[in-house]
Symmetry: C2
Subunit: 351 residues, 2 copies
């Protein structure tokens, strides 16, 4: 969904930075080669590059000039995201990521193959924690070496800092909601706001805006566009997590239900369903062992009580708000078109 | 061992920064209060503040001017260290830190008390991973908001970046050595170089030097002082881990032996001991259940085969090298005295 030309430049920047950064690790000693390889492959292996794209177009729409430095600085957001994903997979005990073994699983396997002492899973967890830490540190190093001038970096840093705090806070809120169970729509929306809306859309746009010294009305418009769009994005994810086809999502059908994920969709369904229907839902939520027939019944409940279409309406109205916000200020026309396209793609994506 | 006047200023900077940073977390919602509290208490609760002190005196010895901005920037190293410790305690399954529950244990307890769903230990681990991440991000934010001018920050950043990569690399090398077992003196020294020498002494000095734009000969002298001193520091730690008194070290007597820590001291002892003596060592290494009598016998072996005094000599010669390096360049006299005092204290410390 990120247009190919800018995506290629983001990939190029990541490839160049990761090559330099991981070679520094390799130079420390052969033992670090698996760490360097895992970090490099993880960062370069896919990912939609949404955050760098929002940052880049946010800068250009605000009147900034296209430059290699800007692309490089924007791409640094992918390293923060890589840290979040590597640590998230540890936290969730996820065995795979994008169809490949998760980082901790790679190091569990390395430990096993080497026949080392101690617990292989513990080693995998330890390695993944440290690799996530390195990626987080590199996210900052990549921005610092972008070639953006000092004034741009000085404006960008507080935004980058807020973004890092907020994404970790959002992750924590998420694990609290999962642990608490029985979330409310309001609380699930708050998680979506921090984990998705601010982190994926609003802050990347603000970062781009800060880099080029955007006007205050542009920054405000980015919030008015970014928050509803990011929520729409998360709500689409909620729907895909229940109704998505495994071929498109890369996850088993109804995965969110088996995991008992406390999403806005699930919270709404539990709220709206009649007692008998609610029981059907409760019988699958968080039960990894339930079969496809039970999942199909739970899906039917979510559709029948009108919640699937309610969430579709929430997405549409948020998308409308986001697009209206883009029209409310003066933006560079080409970049504005890109932001409109990103909004459409993000709220109706089929992946 | 860090002189009181500078220590108080470092504490003050940390208190001020942490108050602002954690209030931002608290503002997100009540659920974040335990996260904010845990992060704040962890950072403010003790710690020798060695790294900020080396950074500060490194800047002053190179001719830099004392300023609040410098202290604030130097203090930011404690947040990197806090991240490393919080994550280290997860990796090592350490239940306590400085006599208090480790961060992950706090959150395991929170989960239990709340009667939440899922595994309480998993929740504790997840929270500690995220809190470590936030602390790492804040380390950068604290340096950025120090008030140092752009040129100083531009010089300091690559050093800070190298430091972050190296400490994580050192931690990884350490877990590899622990997993491999039967380390060699050479490999144990390499871990000491990254985990202690570069990270605790050399890089903090370089960071201070970079902040004030030190001459190349000063930077070289800091390496010549920092590496041997940091190794001496780690070797002292190795001795204390085997021979230290619980009242001084805060850890059970012979703790490193029971943990089977692959230190330079242990590697040397295994290398030097005759077969019968080596067996005494192997019978305690990594056995958490062995009694004090076995520990005492193992200690005796380490003393008898001459390794305890060999390590003392290694410390002395490294300390000599470090002090000689300080005399080899022109440094501001008061700061030089402080660096001498830090060297003495760090290599003979009784804590």
């Amino acid at each position: 969904m990120v247009s190919e030309a800018i995506r290629d430049r983001i990939e190029g920047a990541l490839r160049d930075f990761m090559s330099i950064a991981t070679d520094e690790l390799r130079a420390i000693g052969d033992d670090l080669v698996p760490v360097a390889d895992a970090a490099e492959e993880f960062v370069l292996d896919g990912g939609k590059r949404l955050r760098p794209a929002f940052c880049f177009w946010g800068a250009l729409a605000a009147g900034g000039e296209d430059s290699g430095a800007l692309v490089w600085a924007a791409a640094s957001l992918e390293l923060l995201q890589a840290c979040a994903l590597v640590h998230d997979d540890v936290i969730d005990h996820s065995a795979t990521r994008r169809g490949r073994p998760a980082v901790h699983e790679r190091f569990t396997a390395l430990h096993r193959e080497a026949g080392w002492l101690g617990d292989a899973d513990d080693f995998g967890t330890a390695a993944a924690i440290l690799i996530g830490d390195v990626l987080l540190a590199w996210s900052d190093a990549m921005m610092a070496t972008s070639g953006l001038h000092d004034a741009a970096l000085r404006r960008a840093r507080p935004v980058a800092a807020a973004m890092r705090t907020e994404v970790m806070a959002g992750q924590y809120l998420d694990i609290v909601e999962q642990s608490r169970g029985a979330t409310t729509v309001e609380r699930a929306l708050r998680v979506a706001r921090y984990k998705a809306a601010k982190y994926t859309v609003e802050r990347p746009l603000h970062l781009g805006a800060a880099m080029v010294g955007a006007r205050a009305d542009v920054i405000a418009a980015y919030t008015a566009y970014g928050i509803p769009l990011g929520e729409a994005f998360q709500l689409r994810d909620d729907l895909l997590g229940v109704f998505g086809e495994p071929g498109n999502t890369g996850k088993p059908a109804g995965d969110d239900l088996r995991e008992g994920k406390q999403t806005v969709l699930v919270a709404l369904a539990v709220e709206r369903a009649a007692p008998a229907e609610a029981k059907v839902l409760h019988d699958v939520l968080g039960r990894s062992e339930v079969g496809d027939a039970d999942i199909a019944r739970a899906r039917q409940v979510i559709t029948d009580c009108g919640v699937a279409s309610e969430v579709e309406s929430m997405i549409s109205s948020r998308l409308d708000d986001a697009l209206a916000a883009l029209s409310s200020v003066s933006l560079e026309p080409t970049a504005r078109e890109e932001l409109i396209a990103l909004a459409d793609a993000a709220s109706y994506r089929h992946e």
